[in-house]
């Protein structure tokens, strides 16, 4: 029993060590040539444009549900007109970055892990190395750059769709005037909120990209291993997204407000 626990702990420490080493190599590769510009552009397109629909839909329905729920609660205090303030503040500060990151972890993180995992088990990564290409620069760096840059862009889009959905619900279901809603949206926001809503996704996007690449490149055990890596990448990235958000929030609140 003790041996099993010891082995599990050793494996966990090894994983963390390998992940930290990957982070170090990624950061070095980002600031030193060669760069694979075509691969970076391709990943920006695949990861960013490819996630647009799912992120927009998630934002839209979250904003709509949020407006419905908070409208009902605010009614108890006769403050229904503040629904716009609640939707914008909660989406931009918290729900937008986290929900987008979770959608991102499900769609992009799993895709990265599956793609790199398949390349590992079919020896394509070894073939790259044998052909004199560094897989870190060719495969990892473009994906990490794409997730880090696209996460804030997609978060802003999700926020916009959520606020729009909140407006539709407020006007059609809650009977709040259009100008009242938009005034509340603007009043409820501070510059610090906007910064928070942009900085968080950068960190979360970086976490999702690096976890997907780390798990994918450590795939072993054929097609079963690829399936395992895909699941692991989603689970690890999702947990880390929520944990990172928890630690980032007080830090950013202290710095930005």
């Amino acid at each position: 029993m003790f041996g099993v626990i010891q082995d599990a702990l050793k494996a966990a420490v090894l994983e963390v060590q390998e992940y930290v080493l990957l982070l170090k190599r990624v950061l070095r590769a980002v600031v030193t040539p060669p760069y694979y510009r075509a691969d970076i552009i391709q990943q920006l397109d695949t990861i960013g444009i490819g996630s647009l629909t799912v992120v927009s839909l998630a934002g839209f329905f979250t904003g709509a549900a949020l407006a419905l729920q908070t409208g009902q609660t605010l009614d108890q205090f006769g403050a229904r007109t503040l629904v716009g303030r609640l939707v914008s503040a909660s989406m931009i500060r918290e729900l937008g970055p986290v929900l987008t990151a979770l959608m991102f972890a499900g769609r992009v993180g799993s895709g990265i892990a599956a793609e790199l995992g398949s390349m590992v088990v079919t020896d394509q990564v070894n073939a790259l190395r044998a052909l004199g290409t560094d897989p870190l620069r060719k495969l990892v760096v473009p994906r990490v750059i794409a997730t880090t840059l696209m996460a804030p862009v997609l978060t802003v889009i999700a926020d916009a769709f959520a606020i729009l959905a909140g407006w539709i619900i407020s006007v059609t279901k809650l009977g709040v005037g259009s100008s009242t809603y938009w005034t509340a949206v603007v009043d409820g926001l501070f510059l610090g909120d906007a910064w928070q809503g942009l900085i968080k996704p950068v960190v979360l996007g970086f976490v999702i990209g690096t976890i997907g690449c780390h798990v994918g490149l450590r795939t072993a055990g054929g097609t079963q291993g690829v399936g395992r890596s895909t699941t692991n990448s989603v689970v690890i990235a999702s947990v880390l997204v929520i944990a990172a958000d928890f630690f980032l929030t007080p830090l950013l609140m202290r710095v930005l407000y």
């Binding site: 398949s118 020896d123 394509q124 070894n126 073939a127 044998a130 052909l131 004199g132 290409t133």
Partner: protein, 280 residues
Amino acid sequence: MSSTAIEERRAPHPAEGDRPAVVFEHVSLAFDEKVVLRDVSFTLERGHTKIILGASGSGKSTILKLIVGLLRPDAGQIWVNGERTNELSEMALMKVRQDLGMVFQEGALFDSLTVGENVGYKLLEEGMPADEVWPRVEEVLGFVGLAEQMDKSPSELSGGQRRRVAIARAMAYKPRILLYDEATTGLDPITAITIDQEIVKLRDIEKVGSIVVTHQLRDAFYVATHEAYAEGREIRTRLAGEQKADEAEFIMLKEGVLAFEGNATELRASKDDYIRSFLS
């Protein structure tokens, strides 16, 4: 890199002299408790063939990965073209790999690229002008008889065709050493012979030294006992003369230990029980 640069790289460096293409000196490797190779030593002379035989899991493919630098030995030394590779950094290994081509077990073609892009991958990566890359890609695909498949995706090819594309990819940048990892495993006899002929042609026409890892005796003996020759514009293969056949050496691995080293005649004459059971 232009085609002239490739030719310059292929020309033996004066400092290389008669140094062998690959040297293994007392190489050992273990993964955790499992010993994969134990005290393995051999030498591959320039333009010669070394055929590594052995049962599955005997460490054959590991030898190729050690030569390319995909793995590092726990003990011993590895020399490739006079460079001690087991001491080189990943960056420094890139230079050594310019003169090495490897054909992986299942081909390991890049799914996201076409056949032509796979073959021209390294040339494009090294900055060769596109108007020089595509004629070269056509030339090597023609060499393996697949020139018309250039625009197809690897998934549209049969297993044998994928291996031949992998050979074309490995030879496109004209390395002086080619490593074949079970290039004929799982193929029908006719396709396997086609691959064997490509190996022989590359060795005898392009003067490429080769290490062939296989557990298929028929293919191993075909490569060892045949030679390629040019007849007009055609390249044909025939039974090799005694001297040529002696240039191909066999290595037999048994559980990570070198159990035999010698030519085809010596292998057939061996009285060792393991070798006899392997040959029977």
